[in-house]
């Protein structure tokens, strides 16, 4: 059911959508699992939780609940950007989608985000299923080619990749009958600066405020981790190439072409103008530092003069202190 999509659309997913879906799922799960008799103190509650979770785990050998919702965003040309999402009411047993609810929610979101429109829907689970096609078709009257975003809520510590997949629907002829099937598409994570900072903030719980030294440490740690990632990725490619050279791995020319084109992009910018601009920025920053130092010095001088005046004040009527000068 999942071959790669051929529609040629590029998908961009914002982290907000992922956190939204995860929150929806956690909420529904916790409302179901925990019994209402949780009025004990917090320490007892955690032990209760452990007990209940293990019991609940036995009871919940059935699937954890699936949640459904809608994703909204913008499509500009061939780029589809998914910005936000909201929940929907769907009854999987009767396969009925609450239409009025959907319309109400759409209206509300239109008021606040007038540029976004419904792009598709999301759900949680490990794989796309046949029953999902029904939901998909139901949404087709709002958007003729909706997306299906699937999040796998199972926490697998060995996992390296985001458990989010985006499916599109395509009309394929199978056994002579034209059928809609899901095809997987690739996507990139797109983020604005503010989003990135808040995700970083929550993910790594960076220290906020504090002295200049801690701020500097935080900034450099961030850049350091990013460079470490870059380094590890480059090492992987390097190892691969060395293996290819030795002959352990069969030569694959398309990959070699990609690597060579990547290398040819370095140095990224090499014009004189760029160097000039960079040096100009450097000078500007040094100038600002100079000014700040100046301000600091003059403030200290001012304090010194004031203290001097107070200590050796000849005009003081309080008397007692004689001027040295």
């Amino acid at each position: 059911m999942a071959s790669s999509s051929s529609s040629g659309l590029t998908f961009k997913l914002h982290p907000l959508v992922i956190v939204n879906i995860s929150d929806h799922y956690t909420r529904v799960k916790s409302q179901l699992n925990l019994p209402p008799s949780l009025t004990s103190t917090s320490s007892a509650a955690t032990s209760n939780n452990n007990n209940n979770n293990s019991n609940g785990g036995e009871n919940n050998q059935q699937k954890p609940p699936r949640v459904y919702g809608c994703v909204i965003g913008v499509q500009r040309g061939r780029t589809v950007e998914i910005f936000n999402s909201f929940e929907l009411i769907y009854d999987p047993s009767t396969r009925s989608l609450d239409r009025s609810f959907l319309e109400k929610k759409q209206e509300l979101y239109k008021k606040v985000f007038p540029h976004f429109y419904v792009l598709g829907w999301y759900s949680t689970g490990s794989n796309a299923q046949e029953s999902d096609m029904h939901f998909h078709k139901a949404l087709m009257d709002i958007n003729e080619s909706p997306l299906y975003v699937l999040l796998n809520p199972a926490i697998n510590p060995a996992q390296k990749d985001l458990p989010v997949t985006i499916y599109e629907s395509e009309l394929h002829v199978i056994d002579g009958v034209p059928q809609l099937i899901f095809v997987r598409s690739s996507y990139t994570i797109e983020t604005v600066e503010a989003e990135r900072i808040s995700v970083d903030h929550v993910a790594h719980l960076k220290p906020s405020g504090g002295s200049a030294a801690t701020q500097l440490a935080a900034q450099l740690t961030g850049i350091h981790s990013a460079i470490k990632m870059l380094n590890s990725r480059i090492r992987v490619v390097h190892q691969y190439l060395v293996g290819m050279q030795k002959g352990d791995i069969p030569c694959e020319s398309s990959l070699l072409r990609q690597v060579s084109s990547l290398l040819r992009r370095l140095p990224a910018i090499e014009s004189e103008k760029f160097q000039d601009d960079l040096l100009m920025e450097y000078k500007d920053t040094l100038l600002i530092t100079y000014l700040a130092m100046f301000t600091n010095c003059s403030s200290t001088m001012n304090e010194l003069v004031d203290k001097f005046n107070t200590a050796y004040d000849r005009h003081s009527r309080r008397g007692g202190r004689t001027a040295f000068i």
Partner: protein, 352 residues
Amino acid sequence: MDSAIAQKTWELENNILTVETPDPSSDSIFYYDEAAQAKFQQEKPWANDPHYFKRVKISALALLKMVVHARSGGTIEVMGLMQGKTDGDAIIVMDAFALPVEGTETRVNAQADAYEYMVDYSQTNKQAGRLENVVGWYHSHPGYGCWLSGIDVSTQMLNQQFQEPFLAVVIDPTRTVSAGKVEIGAFRTYPEGYKPPDDPISEYQTIPLNKIEDFGVHCKQYYALDITYFKSSLDCHLLDLLWNKYWVNTLSSSPLLGNGDYVAGQISDLAEKLEQAENQLAHSRIGPLGPPRKKLQEESQLAKITRDSAKITLEQVHGLMSQVIKDILFNSVRQSSRSQNDQSGPEPMIET
């Protein structure tokens, strides 16, 4: 301070990963206990103690939504409501949603307009399984810091009379992007005529000259609450994996380009403040019998200006550092063939 740096260096060198095992039991915070909440509402322990609520816990989702919404407004103030519950002396914010009103000086009137939206939204949320009630409101102060203006204070006092428990949160998206960390503040007002027993020293922040009067008049009428953040185990897991994808964005972000306007505004504001301070200084020179009170004020004003200038410089230096690092990483491939003149400029000076 030195020990903190040393610890961080050690952590870096040894690749310490603080492994927080995502524990499903920690997700209990997401459970909404209707009976307990109703009981708490009836007891009203905050009615007797204006300082009752001391802490705020904000979920990752709420923070993300609020910051994105605040940023999307650009230089216009935006506002929205937060949903959540209470837990002893802490207010827990689980979610936030935006309101379709634009921030103007007549924001108190706009609240009435937003009520219909709020009622509709809360109803649909309850149907979809989000059972929490509205527990506060948030708005943005793009570029001028996290504090409550006069109108904000009166709005919040009204809210605290009729809609308890209620919280006010202010976000500054411009400073967030410029400083690289989230600028957010949570406040509750004191009831009319209440004098706080002690004066808690809040973290200093620079306020632009045209707003500083408004800030000064009202800053004693409210107090700030501590903010902590929480996320579910699934969130932890997803955010870790997300890092695999967006480390690229971290490296490629160029704060110098993005914040040029804001920094220019800050510097001109600083220049105006300096002029003001200079005038005050000149006055005291003429009258040597000037009361010592005035001198104290100038000193602290000049000291404030110094701190502001240090902050602006710090952010600039950080931005420049990332630019230089990127240049070294990606542009210095053929450096061995070029002359060694512009290999590395003098190290940027860091303020302490």
